[in-house]
């Protein structure tokens, strides 16, 4: 482990990568404890905010021994410095009905595909992925990851109307209206006279609220996948950023889908490596060069889902307006013929 701070040179921390989703057998935990008892201080953070097991307090000469033994039972070293960092995924598929994609497979496919970037720090600054199975975002990916993969769906919310009626019978109509219907951020919900639910799915932004409240009656749709938001980070140095939408939807089911995601991650990491200034997070790079230039750099087409609203400032050069309109039309026509071919 490289040590950044001279005054703590005899207090090394080993960051090691836990099993994806933080699942343990007691056998694995005990073995880890035995190794750390032998070589280190016995202090452990389970887990650091980035998702590492942080073994804290090891002399320089024991670092290698501790690592070797941990490595033998399956643990690898996490990220530190200007590198790809250790990642995290929510419990998701393993025990949560809201999960919209296979978090473990996605997490391992992405991170294990770029171990070189993790173990040989050569990026302009840190780069973090995080994986949440649905918009509840239990691992706080939007804010804590440069590259957030968050599950969502494209078709209609699945409704069991009998269970809706049961729910209303249990909690009462007023509560149903106050707590479910009026909390929908886009007014997509309406309670019918027979206590069934009407959902305007075209207006639903997939916020999860109604599904969270009525876990038995409602579920995410069947056409599930994930979205990608890029650029989240903490305060240093320009202030906090949330990630913003870059890919509104992608399927994550077939081997091909996963290949595509990996290729996309590679494009983004390469762009970051080549274009970010030293000590600049990718959110800051995007801020500096503008989202449109970033999209061009990574080969992603513009989409209205990427903005809260179109620009309000009129100070811009638009002399290539007609060409840009043509591009949009061509893309629309292509999409239309593709969906026709599919039918």
């Amino acid at each position: 482990m490289p040590d950044k701070f001279p005054e703590s040179s005899e207090f090394h921390t080993l960051r090691i990568i836990p099993p994806a989703g933080l699942h343990y057998s007691t056998d694995l935990l005990r073995k880890m404890c035995d190794i750390w008892e032998k070589h280190g201080s016995g202090l452990i953070a389970l887990h650091g905010q980035s998702g590492d097991i942080m073994l804290q307090g090891c002399s320089s000469e024991n670092v290698q021994k501790a690592f070797d033994e941990l490595n033998e039972i399956g643990f690898d070293l996490g990220g530190a410095g200007p590198a790809l960092r250790t990642s995290m995924n929510c419990v998701g598929h393993a025990r949560c009905e809201q999960s919209c994609y296979d978090e473990v497979r996605t997490h391992r496919t992405v991170i294990n595909g770029f171990l070189d970037e993790m173990h040989r720090p050569a990026l302009p600054y840190k780069f973090k992925f995080k994986f949440s199975g649905c918009p509840n975002d239990c691992v706080n990916a939007i804010h804590r990851a440069d590259f957030a993969v968050i599950g969502t769906w494209r078709d209609d919310i699945q409704v069991d109307q009998q269970e809706v009626q049961n729910y209303v019978a249990k909690v009462g109509r007023k509560y149903m209206i106050d707590v479910v219907i009026t909390h929908c951020p886009t007014r997509a919900l309406s309670l019918n006279d027979d206590d069934t639910l009407e959902i305007d799915n075209k207006s639903c932004v997939r916020c999860m609220h109604c599904i969270n409240v009525m876990t038995k009656a409602l579920s995410p749709g069947k056409d599930r996948g994930a979205m990608v938001l890029i650029g989240g980070k903490r305060s240093l140095k320009v202030g906090d950023f949330l990630g913003s939408v870059i890919v509104p939807f992608m399927k994550l089911e077939t081997d091909e889908d996963f290949e595509k995601l990996k290729d996309f991650c590679e494009t983004v990491i390469d762009f970051f490596a080549e274009n970010a200034l030293e000590h600049e997070r990718i959110g800051e790079t995007i801020d500096r060069i503008g989202l449109a230039n970033f999209l061009e750099g990574i080969g992603v087409e513009v989409d209205p889902n990427m903005v809260n609203h179109p620009r309000t400032s009129s100070y811009a050069r638009m002399d290539d307006w007609d060409q840009e309109v043509e591009k949009w039309r061509a893309r629309k026509a292509e999409a239309a013929s593709a969906s026709e071919a599919a039918e």
């Binding site: 994806a20 905010q49 391992r108 906090d240």
Partner: protein, 359 residues
């Protein structure tokens, strides 16, 4: 060390495959869960499409652990939870069991051993915090210590689900705020520019890197007593502490000048409203170990105002959004000062550019 053996080549295995360690029922029903409910605070019950059921008991741990505690958790898992466990991002331990009958003895055992069972649903979940004195390069205070004091106070809200919605409390030991956004965030706020030990700067610090790090360009190279050093434009300095890690002679921490600030209304989930950042409520609280009574008082005041006034499922920030900031300051009897007005980039977006006001 005298062994002349070949250095061992590391196996770059990356992220570990969790399936060999996962509870068998979770593995069997991976991606096949249908719905869940909660039997009581701290106990989840999940049902799979195929009819399998699993019960999960969640208990708080202190994140900062020692071998004894981890082994104790392992003993509990071996005796009562089929030899498996997992952790949540907020350092709660979770034990899965395959019959409802196992839940009672597991809960009892955890409580006997001093692990509070709770943290589910509309409760105050385990505080997410950075590591403070133990492992940070610049801890203004001991985040873990503040957490301990607060959790003693908030324990009762961890083990019941009596809040309007879940409450995430975070703490951070510097303004960079590694603890993250929270419904309530308790963060160190430095109030004095760094004091520079000029004798050391030349030897210890890579000066251009330190200069580049300052968010307000307040650091310049300087010669002091004939030695290369740095100087800080104290009028510009925002006391963020960012220059300290790359240059420890720039001492930012002081027993009196290191204060604590409380922020509210941060949220990560997309449920109902979009994710938001937390906003400043109180600064200038003394760093007063070992119990930090001033901080605890402010936090509990805010928490109980929320508990009393918010509607079911409103998060802290959503509640304030509805009632407005004037009413928030009125209900909590906290002062509103010029420091509450943002002046960083984009500050204009935080001003009220409408005629909507609250009286």
């Amino acid at each position: 060390m005298s062994e002349a053996t070949q250095p061992r080549r590391p196996i770059e295995s990356g992220v570990m495959d969790p399936f060999p360690y996962m509870h068998p029922l979770l593995k069997k029903n991976y991606g096949q869960w249908k719905w869940h409910d909660r039997l009581r605070p701290g106990v989840l019950h999940h049902v799979a499409h195929g009819g399998d059921e699993v019960w999960t008991v969640r208990a708080g741990t202190q994140r900062q652990m020692d071998l004894h505690t981890i082994r104790k958790l392992c003993d509990i898992a071996d005796q009562h939870a089929e030899g498996h466990m997992r952790f949540t991002t907020r350092s709660n331990a979770e034990f899965m069991v395959s019959t409802e009958a196992q839940v009672g003895p597991l809960v009892e055992k955890l409580q006997d051993e001093g692990f509070p069972v709770g943290g589910t649903g509309a409760s105050v979940s385990m505080i997410s915090h950075t590591q403070g004195w133990l492992h940070c390069d610049i801890p203004g205070t001991d985040a873990s210590g503040v957490v301990k004091s607060l959790m003693d106070e908030l324990h009762k809200e961890f083990i019941q689900e009596k809040m309007p919605n879940r409450v995430r409390i975070t703490t951070s030991c510097c303004q960079i705020n590694c603890g993250g956004q929270g419904d309530i965030a308790i963060n160190v706020q430095y109030t004095k520019p760094p004091k520079i030990n000029h004798d050391l700067v030349g030897n210890v610090c890579e000066r251009p890197a330190v200069i580049a790090r300052c968010p307000v360009a307040a650091i310049r190279p300087a010669m002091v007593n004939g030695k290369p050093s740095l100087e800080v434009d104290e009028k510009k300095c925002v006391c963020c502490g960012a220059c300290y890690p790359p240059c420890p002679p720039m001492q930012i921490n002081g027993p009196e000048s290191t204060k604590l600030a409380v922020w509210v209304g941060g949220k990560h989930s997309n449920a109902r409203s979009k994710p938001t950042f937390h906003k400043l409520v109180v600064a200038g609280l003394p760093n007063n170990p070992p119990r930090w009574p001033e901080v605890t008082e402010v936090v509990t005041t805010i928490l109980y105002a929320y508990k009393k006034n918010a509607r079911h499922w409103e998060r802290m920030g959503e509640w304030i959004e509805r009632i407005g900031w004037p009413r928030f300051f009125e209900l909590t009897e906290l002062p509103f000062t010029k420091h509450h007005i943002d002046d960083w980039r984009g500050a204009r977006k935080t001003l009220n550019t409408s005629t909507h006001v609250y009286f």
